[in-house]
Amino acid sequence: MPDFSSLMSHGVFHLLAGLITLVSVLVVVSKHPVKSAVFLVVDLFLLAAVYASLESHFVAAIQVLVYAGAVVVLFLFVIMLLNLQPDQLRGMRFNPVEAVTLIVSVIGMLIMLGVSMSGKPTGLGDGSMDVNAIEAAGGNTYMIAMKLLTDYIWPFELASILILLAIVAAVVIAKKDKKPVVS
């Protein structure tokens, strides 16, 4: 009997990867910002599916909750608030700095791909934490919670300071004072 589940996970991955690539292209090239935002939602949702296929249930959930459900809503709100119209793609205008950056980045990507493909492909199963072991220890979410609140205390507390700063900064920058300061 052929390895059915391996075949299936390969199929799922390739399907998702193809869709993600397609939708990412659409995000980048869509003329209208609202279209880009909607494609971005789909993209993030598909990435959440990839995380789910990697048994990272918690990450998949917060990906949808925070990214798709909150960050892109903010983008949509701002686009609608400013009433942005479709813009042109930057045509054939030559900009040396950007062109060089793009070429360098593409070359870098090819090098990264070459390096990662040169070695013998390592299966995901190699030395990976057994899914059943995680289940027995209380599940993915519980393990992450314990690790976050014991090993990662300082990042956790710093995250709150980061959020505090973001709240203050956003309000200071975006809020128009009722009375402009007279200089």
Binding site: K35, F58, A61, I62, A70
Partner: protein, 360 residues
């Protein structure tokens, strides 16, 4: 996968069966509510309400009114407003329908049953992340509203959709916070475990964490844009809100999404605060042996959950005809200045009490 082919087949078929039953059930919610939303207010206001539509000579208290309305809705002409964003205009109903159906999958509708030696849970999806799955999917419901309003090229629709989406995201936070004490108390994100922990009357969520229930109830009304929070379709100001330019079956799609999500939130409230499929004073799962027929317990549990959910649906209608609408600034003040602090205090207080009791 750790399952033999036979086990996999049983699991798969049972999932398909559960899913089909649930989908058919959810599709019955809007027609039923269509009638209920007219008969109950009529009863409250001492009117008769629609009672004449029937089949041949059988009027049956106007039961066929729902069918008549549905048929009327289906055969309406579709009018796409000029200048609408065509693609998004047609896409918005899809965005408003699917989140409600997805969330419904995560609710446990009864105790586990045994089929051919295998344990079948009576919820379609059982995930490790439980609540977070529900919040994640329900946060996607905003897009239907936002896109519908924006794509219609109508200022009332746009205003209504911005109001509605701002309201929905504002009340998502109290909704999320209200359930943190529940997780603290029952120690699980899994809805089924929470239900199983509520064995007796006194262990119901509403008694262990009444403030959570209050917050959840208010947030539940606001999330579904129902009176007293139906600012998005304040008909005196905004015609009909974000679906002003929608008609025919597209309007039916919004209608379906709204009522299904109301029903799902009712089920969630019953599950978390009213013991879900548990029946007070006796164990449903013992019924199987008592009657000698497997599945009776599950059926009774399912009935129990449905009755609790029906109570909340009735509450929706009752409140709609009793309480006047909030003003928008009052709505936002309530959400941000009262419910969030109250939610935080609730979390802290619950944690301190539990820590004092458990950790000494």
């Amino acid at each position: 996968m750790g399952l033999t082919a036979d086990e996999f087949t049983i699991q798969f078929i049972s999932t398909v069966v559960k899913f089909s039953i649930l989908a058919v059930m959810l599709l019955q919610v809007p027609p039923v509510m269509l009638l209920v939303e007219r008969r109950i207010p009529a009863f409250m206001q001492r009117r008769k309400g629609p009672n004449r539509v029937g089949l041949f000579k059988f009027r049956l208290y106007g039961v066929m009114q729902a069918l008549a309305d549905t048929i009327k809705l289906i055969f309406k002409e579709e009018v796409v407003p000029e200048g609408a964003q065509k693609v998004f205009y047609h896409l918005a109903p899809v965005f408003s329908v699917f989140p409600a159906f997805l969330i419904a999958m995560a609710i446990p509708y009864g105790p586990d049953i045994q089929v051919l030696g295998q344990t079948i849970p009576l919820s379609v999806v059982r995930l490790d992340v439980g609540f977070l799955f529900i919040f994640a999917i329900s946060s996607l419901a905003v897009y239907g509203v936002t896109i519908a309003g924006w794509a219609s090229n109508n200022k009332y629709a746009l205003l209504g959709s911005l109001r509605a989406s701002a309201q929905m995201i504002s009340y998502e936070i109290p909704l999320g916070m209200s359930l943190i004490p529940i997780v603290l108390i029952y120690g699980s994100l899994d809805l089924n475990k929470i239900v199983e922990a509520q064995t007796t009357f006194l262990k119901w969520g509403i008694f262990l964490s009444p403030i959570s229930f209050l917050l959840f109830l208010i947030a539940m009304f606001a999330e579904t844009n129902r009176t007293p929070f139906d600012l998005s379709e304040a008909e005196g100001e905004l015609v009909a809100g974000f679906h002003t330019e929608y008609n025919s079956t597209k309007f039916a799609a919004f209608f379906l999404g709204e009522y299904v999500s109301m029903f799902v939130l009712s089920c969630l409230a019953s599950t978390v605060f009213f013991g879900g499929w548990q029946v007070p004073f006796f164990d449903v799962r013992a019924l199987d042996q008592l009657v000698g027929l497997p599945g009776v317990g599950a059926l009774v549990g399912f009935g129990s959950l449905l009755m609790k959910a029906a109570f909340f649906m009735w509450l929706y209608v009752w409140v709609r005809w009793t309480i006047p609408r909030f003003r928008y600034d009052q709505l936002m003040n309530l959400g941000w200045k009262y419910m969030i602090p109250l939610g935080l205090i609730n979390v802290v207080a619950t944690a301190l009490v539990l820590a004092a009791v458990w950790f000494k």
